[in-house]
């Protein structure tokens, strides 16, 4: 009897102790380097907003999955008319906003009309440019009529800038975002963190986390100790630079290197002499040693590119061999272009590690062939004003992080100042084509034209460097869109 009692007590004790260990943790603290300026993804270009709210708090008609594929979102299905002009979306029933109001077709109409309207301050207004009219047929059906067929329409609707908001809360989303997602916004301690908690009665697959806190740590040197001390359990996308080796060998953490949509280019002013000369641009292309640039600018983690296209995209063509590293050839081309002794130019660098580090290396590589670059470091507002808006620059280095953005080369008056009717034609055809094999073919043509024209120095695809607790699962390896999707994240033992 006595023995039994002890055994029973021991068993009870063991059960009590083991209890909490069986139940996995349901909270997560992540850290990001940049803080959102406000919390409305439909009114700013800041990636940090999407990185907190996309798929977690706000949802669109469609959404982008981990491999860049378009998945159903608030629209559970859709049909496309034969001429490709009319999209009829069937909406999910029983969806509620976090403030308790119902999600209905009229909200979709409101959101899309607001984004494309005259007073719109949507940073990606072009996504909605093809829309002719939006009609709420019944509470669960939306009909979108396009001006002409648009192959990328469903993809466009999956952007963070195209999420569906309610008329009641649209104006206050900057401070108090109200969405339909599995997490609802709880608190924003400005300068510190944003807290999300699980939303009750979510319409989709239930999430594992009860609470997620996103902290803003500006400095890699501070992010590592925060991780080591256990205060923070995940750095999903953090440019750690030299601090990376410090945690790489630590078995408590997983280091996950993935790809992004960030094509990093040596942006070139194609209308400004001598860069208006194809031979000069080709010479620069021959003078660039991508391997050395990638090693120096990204710790060897970037993927080389030969045109403006992400290597993980199914339509990608490897064009890195178009102008292989060949300084002798570069000097020869410069001579043919009338610059036997090279020339002087400026290189304006924004305040990001890859640009500042890569800039030094590129300047020394171009000096080898006689091009003498003066490096001018600038901060972002100055870069946007002088380089991007006023086009007052020779060369610059920047990563273009918008997904699938090869069409920027067809934009009139874009800061590359590239103008090629043949390329514009391909992009125009592309926007009218929705058949997948034809689109792939057109994408290939577009990539080849840019590579041959050496529009910019095509350097590398920016890597996504993620580190998190080895017991955390479900964070994305790649970043096909600016997001930290927490819907599948969980702790495992």
């Amino acid at each position: 009897m006595k023995i039994n009692g002890t055994v029973a007590a021991a068993a009870l004790l063991a059960a009590a102790m083991a209890g909490p260990a069986w139940a996995a943790r349901t909270d997560l603290v992540l850290a990001m380097p940049l803080e959102p300026p406000h919390l409305d993804p439909t009114a700013s270009a800041a990636a940090a907003i999407d990185e907190v709210f996309y798929a977690n708090v706000f949802e669109g008609l469609t959404r982008v999955g981990e491999r860049g594929e378009v998945l159903p979102g608030l629209a559970e299905s859709w049909t496309i008319s034969d001429d490709g002009n009319i999209y009829t979306f069937k909406l999910h029933p029983g969806v509620k906003y976090h403030d308790g109001t119902d999600f209905e077709a009229s909200d979709v109409k409101f959101s899309l009309d607001r984004a494309r309207g005259e007073k719109s301050v949507n940073a990606q207004k072009a996504l909605f440019a093809a829309i002719e009219a939006v009609e709420a047929v019944d509470p669960l059906t939306v009909k979108v009529t396009l001006k002409q067929p648009q192959g990328s329409f469903l993809y466009n609707m999956a952007w963070g800038d195209a999420v569906i908001v309610a008329p009641e809360s649209a104006e206050t989303n900057k401070e108090k975002p109200i969405g339909t997602g599995p997490f609802k916004f709880q608190n924003w301690a400005k300068g510190s963190s944003i807290t999300l908690v699980k939303a009750d009665g979510y319409w989709g697959a239930p999430v594992f986390l009860d609470k997620a806190e996103v902290r803003f740590i500006p400095d890699a040197a501070a992010a590592i100790p925060a991780l080591l001390s256990g205060d923070v359990q995940a750095l999903p996308n953090f440019p750690l630079g030299d601090a990376l080796p410090q945690v790489q060998a630590d078995p408590r953490f997983k280091v996950v290197i993935g790809s992004t949509e960030g094509e990093t280019v040596l942006a070139t002013n194609n209308k400004r002499p001598p860069f208006d000369n194809l031979k000069v641009r080709q010479a620069i292309a021959y003078a660039l040693d991508r391997k050395a640039i990638i090693d120096g600018a990204t710790g060897g983690l970037g993927t080389p590119i030969g045109s403006h296209f992400a290597p993980h995209n199914p339509a990608y063509v490897d064009l890195t061999g178009t102008y292989p590293y060949d300084p002798a050839k570069a000097r020869e081309l410069l001579k043919e272009a009338g610059h036997p002794n090279g020339f002087k130019a400026t290189l304006k660098l924004p305040p990001v590690g890859y640009a500042r580090l890569g800039g030094e290396i590129i300047a020394s590589q171009l000096r080898e062939v006689g091009i003498d670059l003066q490096i001018i470091p600038v901060e972002w507002p100055v870069w946007l004003k002088t380089v991007f808006t006023d086009k007052d620059y020779d060369l610059s280095i920047v990563a273009h992080t918008e997904p699938n953005d090869i069409d920027i080369y067809a934009r009139k008056d874009y800061y590359f100042q590239y103008d090629n009717p043949a390329f514009d034609k391909v992009i125009a055809d592309l926007s009218l084509t929705s058949e997948e094999t034809k689109r792939t073919e057109l994408y290939k043509q577009a990539q080849e034209i840019l590579a041959d024209d050496a529009v910019n120095g095509f350097l590398f695809e920016l890597p996504k460097i993620g580190i998190w607790d080895a017991k955390v699962e479900g964070l994305w390896q790649n970043s096909p869109i600016q997001a930290n999707d927490l819907t599948k994240v969980k702790w495992v033992e």
Binding site: P218, W380, F388
Partner: protein
């Protein structure tokens, strides 16, 4: 005394007006458009114009200035472009971190530095003097962020006594909030203490060499009471001056330490606002800081009069 005070206040107000013009003009000269920054690279110029209109950026500059400066007079600091909340609210949140942090580190540095400086002065030329001033030298030479990281690795990563950074807010309780401020306060206090200790020591050394000290000693006062009754009062003047300057610095000049501990302080607010061209925030916070510096200097001036009766005469 009253006339003196009146003169100082008037002078302070003139400084404020001048500062408001300089700050406003400077931010207009720096290139960068807050609307374009918000909308990024994919927005069209038309859209940027729509947002500029909404932000009130298309008004003539003089009007913009008067609008803002007039608001200041009514204690209305304006609305942040990026956060779209009242600047006073933003600043209030940040002061809840920066003010206690400044006070704690000032308190720490005073507690350490003044006894150390006095002790070194009293042992002038001896080993104790050399050791303590050598330590102060190291304290001054040590880079702030490096010392901060050292503290984090020892007390947060290794011993796990305090968090590695961040600020839970006072709503989380006094103790958790204080715990978050301890390491940054120590990191900030060290160089301040080093400077203060050196100033205290040299002021004391100088005072101890004065005739009136010798006279007091000759009258038969003990070394101790000479130190407390005569010397210390005179030492306080340079020390108070330094303290005033340090307080002003600690309020907003601590951006590096704030970054290492990722604290939501005033320094980071200004830094973020500058990089986002949130002009209203930058202008208003800088004005607040100017006002704070003027006020602190005024208080320091007044405290001179308290410690030094000679300054209480008609000036």
């Amino acid at each position: 005394m009253t006339a003196y005070l009146f003169k100082r206040v008037l002078f302070g107000l003139a400084t404020l007006v001048l500062a408001s013009m300089v700050v406003f003009a400077m931010l207009q000269v720096v290139p960068g458009d807050p609307a374009r920054l918000m909308l990024g690279m994919n927005a069209t110029e038309d859209q940027v114009q729509v947002l500029r209109e909404q932000m009130g950026l298309n008004q003539p500059l003089v009007l913009q200035y008067l609008d803002w400066a007039g608001g200041l007079l009514r204690l209305d600091f304006g609305r942040s472009y990026t956060y779209s909340v009242e600047v006073s609210e933003l600043v209030g949140e940040r002061l809840a971190v920066s003010l206690p942090l400044a006070l704690i580190s000032l308190g720490l540095s005073t507690l350490v530095a003044i006894p150390l400086g006095l002790y070194a002065a009293s042992r002038r030329g001896k080993t104790a003097d050399a050791v303590s001033m050598g330590a102060a030298q190291i304290g001054m030479a040590m880079p702030n962020f490096w010392f901060a990281l050292l503290l984090i690795y020892v007390f947060a990563v290794w011993l796990r006594l305090v968090p590695a950074g961040g600020f839970p807010g006072w709503s989380a309780g006094v103790w958790p909030a204080l715990k978050a401020l301890i390491l940054p306060a120590v990191a900030l206090a060290l160089p301040q203490a080093a400077i203060l200790a050196r100033v205290t020591r040299s002021a004391m050394v100088e005072v101890l060499g004065q005739d009136y000290i010798r006279t007091a000693r000759a009258k038969g006062m003990t070394a101790r009471s000479v130190l407390w009754r005569h010397a210390l009062r005179n030492v306080l003047i340079p020390v108070l001056t330094i303290l005033g300057m340090q307080f002003a610095f600690l309020l907003a000049g601590t951006i590096i330490v704030e970054n290492v501990f990722y604290l939501p302080g005033l320094g980071r607010l200004v830094f973020q606002a500058i990089s986002q061209r949130d002009l209203v925030v930058v202008q208003s916070v800088v004005m607040l800081l100017v006002a704070a510096v003027i006020l602190v200097n005024l208080l320091v001036d007044l405290s001179y009069a308290l410690v030094d009766p000679r300054l209480r005469g008609n000036r």
